[in-house]
C-alpha cells in the first residue's frame, strides 16, 4: 500500500495535504483498493461548510456506496470536476490527480486529531492482523 510521507490521514482512510490554510483531500490507496472500481463520486458543492469527520461526499462502486469524511473542518473552495467524467482516476491516481476537494481550513489545531504517515502505516497493519476475525459486512 502506497502512503505519502508528508500527508496526514484518518482512520477512515482519507488523506489531507496542507499548504498554508488550504487542505487538499482525497482517499488513500487502501481505500481505493478496498472500494474496488469506483463508478461515481457524488461531489459536494463549492462553499459547503464541513466539520471534521463529518460526511463530505459519497462514492459508489458497482455494488457498494461509501461515505467519505472530511479530515478537517472548513469550507469547500474547489472540487475536482474531472472525477465526474472519469471516476476511475480515483483508483488510478488516488494521491495526485485523484484529489477530491480543496478546503479552506477553519481550525488548524484539528490536525492533532489526524494520523501521520507512520501512524497510519501502523494502523493499517493492525487492520491486517484483525482481518478475518469478526463478522464483516459488505458495506
Amino acid at each position: 500500500m502506497e502512503i505519502i510521507e508528508h500527508y496526514l490521514y484518518t482512520k477512515e482512510h482519507e488523506w489531507i495535504s496542507i499548504e498554508d490554510n488550504v487542505g487538499t483531500i482525497g482517499i488513500t490507496d487502501y481505500a481505493q483498493s478496498a472500494l474496488g472500481d469506483i463508478t461515481y463520486a457524488e461531489l459536494p458543492g463549492v462553499d459547503k461548510d464541513v466539520e471534521q469527520f463529518e460526511q463530505l461526499l459519497s462514492v459508489e462502486s458497482v455494488k457498494s456506496a461509501s461515505d467519505i469524511f472530511s479530515p478537517i473542518s472548513g469550507k469547500v473552495i474547489e472540487v475536482n470536476d474531472d472525477l465526474v467524467d472519469d471516476p476511475s482516476i480515483l483508483n488510478r491516481y488516488c494521491y495526485d490527480k485523484g484529489w477530491i476537494v480543496k478546503v479552506e481550513i477553519s481550525d488548524m489545531d484539528e490536525t492533532s486529531n489526524l494520523l501521520t504517515a507512520d501512524e497510519y502505516r501502523n494502523y493499517l497493519s493492525s487492520l491486517d492482523r484483525n482481518d478475518g476475525g469478526a463478522d464483516s459486512s459488505e458495506e
Binding site: 461515481y40 458497482v62 455494488k63 471516476p87 463478522d135 459488505e138
Partner: protein, 489 residues
C-alpha cells in the same frame, strides 16, 4: 442477440387494428401533436413472437431450473392459477365499476375474492384485518410503518423517533422506515444467529416507535425468545412489525399475531406461489391487530348483512389511499386459488416440507462448506464460502459455477452478517433427487476450489454470455437504445 429495434423494417406491423366505423377523422391542431412518431420497431407478429421466445430461452426459471434463491421462496407456481386469473370476469373488470352508483353488484365476484382472501390471511397469521392494497413486499413495509406512525400520532406519542432493525434484516426494512421519516438503530445478532437480547435492552427507550423483524430471521433461525422481545417492545408502547418474507417456514406452526406482532406484511409471490415474473408484479398485503386496525388504508371491502360485498371508505382515522385501487388483484386471485387448493393441511405440509428440505440440504452440504450457525434451521440454510475464499474462490465464483450446471445460484453475500454468505432455500416443492444432485454439484465446486481455484474466474462457460463488465455499465450508463453515445452498432 439483436435488439427488437434492430430488426425493424419499415412497413411491417404485428397487429391488425379494427378499421374505423365512425364518419369522423379528427386532425388536431399541430401545437398538440408530436413532431415525429415514436421509433417503435416495425415488425410482424412472428418477428415479435420469435424475438421474445428466444429472449425467454436466455433465462433460468423455476419451470426449468432448480432455483434455491434464499429469502425469495422460489417455489413452483401452479399453472391453473394463471388460468383463473385470465377468466374474463376478472381480467376485463374495470376497477372503477364498483365505485359507481349501482355498480357494486357487477363486481360481487371480485369483491368476494378480496374479502375471502383477507379472511384466510387473518386466520393464517392471527391478525384482525388486512389491507390487500400494497403492491409488493416493500410497499407493504412502507404501509405498515405508516400505520405505526399513525398509531403513535393518534396516541400523542410525539417522542417516537426510532425504529429498531436487526443487523440481519433485508435492506428494504431500514429503507422503508427511513422513507417514513424514522431513524434506524441496528441490533446485532448473537452467536446463535438470533437478536442479542442484551443489546436490544441497551437501546430500548421511550423513543422507540417499533421493531421490524423477520421471523424466522434471515439466518434461517426461529427466535425462541420472540415473545420476550415483544414484551420488551410493548413495554415502551412500541409496535412489533413482522416482515413476512419467511412465513413459508411456520405456516400452521405459529402465527405472528399470537407471537405478539401488531402488524405484518406478507409476500404473496413468496409464500403463496404467485409468479415472480422476472422481478414482479408482487403483492404485499398488510395485516394488523386491533391496535392498528382503525388506521388501515381505504377502501376496505365489507360484507353487508344481506350477504352482498361492498367498498367502504368511511374510516375517519384511515391513513388514506396507498395505491390506486384494491391491490394487485390478479396476483391476489392466484394466491387465493392456491390457498383453496391447499387448505388447512396443505398449508401445514408446506411449512413441514420446506423445513425438512432445508435441513436435509444443510446436512448434505455441511461437509464441504462452513455452516454459519450449526443448529437446526428453518426453511433455509446458511453457509459461508470462507474456506474456499482462502483459496481465492469466492461465493460469487461458486455461484457462477452452479450456473454452468443449470442451477440458479442461491442468494450470495446476504445476509450481510455472514462473510461470503451462501443462502439456500430449496422450498417444499423440490424433490430429494433434485437436492441430492445440487449437493453433489456443491461438493464438486468445493473440490475444484481446492484443486483448481484459478479455473473459477472464467465461469460460466456454457451460457449465452460470460461475466459482464458491470463497471463499464455503471460508468457509461447506456440505458436507452436511442441515446447511446458510445455503444451504437
Amino acid at each position: 442477440m439483436n435488439l427488437i429495434f434492430e430488426g425493424s423494417v419499415s412497413g411491417r406491423q404485428g397487429v391488425k387494428l379494427p378499421s374505423s366505423d365512425v364518419p369522423v377523422k379528427i386532425k388536431l391542431p399541430s401545437q398538440y401533436l408530436r413532431s415525429k412518431a415514436a421509433e417503435l420497431p416495425e415488425v410482424s407478429e412472428l418477428d415479435v413472437v420469435r424475438h421474445f421466445t428466444r429472449l425467454s430461452q436466455r433465462n433460468f426459471s423455476v419451470d426449468a431450473n432448480f432455483y434455491p434463491l434464499g429469502s425469495c421462496t422460489m417455489k413452483y407456481n401452479p399453472k391453473f392459477t394463471e388460468k383463473v386469473a385470465g377468466m374474463m370476469g376478472f381480467a376485463d373488470l374495470h376497477p372503477l365499476l364498483p365505485q359507481l352508483q349501482g355498480g357494486e353488484k357487477y363486481a360481487q365476484g371480485a369483491l368476494e375474492v378480496l374479502y375471502e382472501c383477507e379472511r384466510w390471511l387473518c386466520e393464517i397469521t392471527g391478525m384482525n384485518a388486512y389491507t390487500m392494497q400494497p403492491l409488493a413486499g416493500a410497499h407493504g413495509e412502507l404501509t405498515g410503518i405508516m400505520l405505526m406512525a399513525a398509531y403513535h400520532k393518534a396516541k400523542g406519542n410525539t417522542h417516537k423517533k426510532v425504529v429498531i432493525v436487526p443487523d440481519s434484516a433485508h435492506g428494504t426494512n431500514p429503507a422503508s422506515a427511513a422513507v417514513a421519516g424514522y431513524s434506524i438503530v441496528a441490533v446485532p445478532s448473537d452467536k446463535r444467529g438470533v437478536m442479542d437480547l442484551d443489546k436490544l435492552k441497551a437501546v430500548l427507550n421511550d423513543e422507540v416507535a417499533g421493531l421490524m423483524m423477520t421471523c424466522p430471521d434471515t439466518h434461517g433461525v426461529f427466535n425462541p425468545q420472540i415473545d420476550e422481545i415483544a414484551r420488551l417492545i410493548h413495554s415502551v408502547d412500541g409496535i412489533m412489525y413482522y416482515d413476512g418474507a419467511n412465513l413459508n417456514a411456520i405456516l400452521g406452526r405459529a402465527r405472528p399475531g399470537d407471537l405478539g406482532f401488531d402488524v405484518v406484511h406478507l409476500n404473496l409471490h413468496k409464500t403463496f406461489a404467485t409468479p415472480h415474473g422476472g422481478g414482479g408484479p408482487g403483492s404485499g398485503p398488510v395485516g394488523v391487530g386491533e391496535k392498528l386496525e382503525p388506521f388501515l388504508p381505504v377502501s376496505r371491502v365489507v360484507k353487508r348483512e344481506s350477504g352482498e360485498y361492498a367498498l367502504n371508505y368511511d374510516y375517519p382515522h384511515s391513513i388514506g389511499y396507498i395505491a390506486s385501487f384494491y391491490g394487485a388483484f390478479g396476483i391476489i386471485l392466484r394466491a387465493y386459488a392456491y390457498m383453496l387448493i391447499l387448505g388447512r393441511e396443505g398449508l401445514k405440509q408446506t411449512a413441514d416440507h420446506a423445513v425438512l428440505n432445508a435441513n436435509y440440504l444443510l446436512h448434505k452440504i455441511k461437509p464441504y462448506y462452513q455452516v454459519a450457525f450449526d443448529r437446526v434451521c428453518m426453511h433455509e440454510c446458511l453457509f459461508s464460502a470462507s474456506k474456499q475464499a482462502d483459496n481465492g474462490v469466492h461465493a460469487i465464483d461458486i455461484a457462477k459455477f452452479l450456473i454452468d450446471r443449470n442451477i440458479h445460484p442461491p442468494t450470495v453475500y446476504f445476509p450481510l452478517t455472514v462473510k461470503e454468505a451462501i443462502m439456500v432455500e430449496p422450498t417444499e416443492t423440490e424433490s430429494k433427487a433434485t437436492m441430492d444432485e445440487f449437493a453433489s454439484v456443491m461438493a464438486e465446486a468445493s473440490a475444484l476450489a481446492k484443486s483448481s481455484p484459478e479455473s473459477f474466474k472464467d465461469f460460466p462457460l456454457r451460457m449465452p454470455i460470460s461475466r459482464p463488465d458491470e463497471v463499464r455499465a455503471a460508468r457509461e450508463m447506456n440505458v436507452n437504445f436511442f441515446d447511446r453515445p458510445n455503444a451504437r452498432g
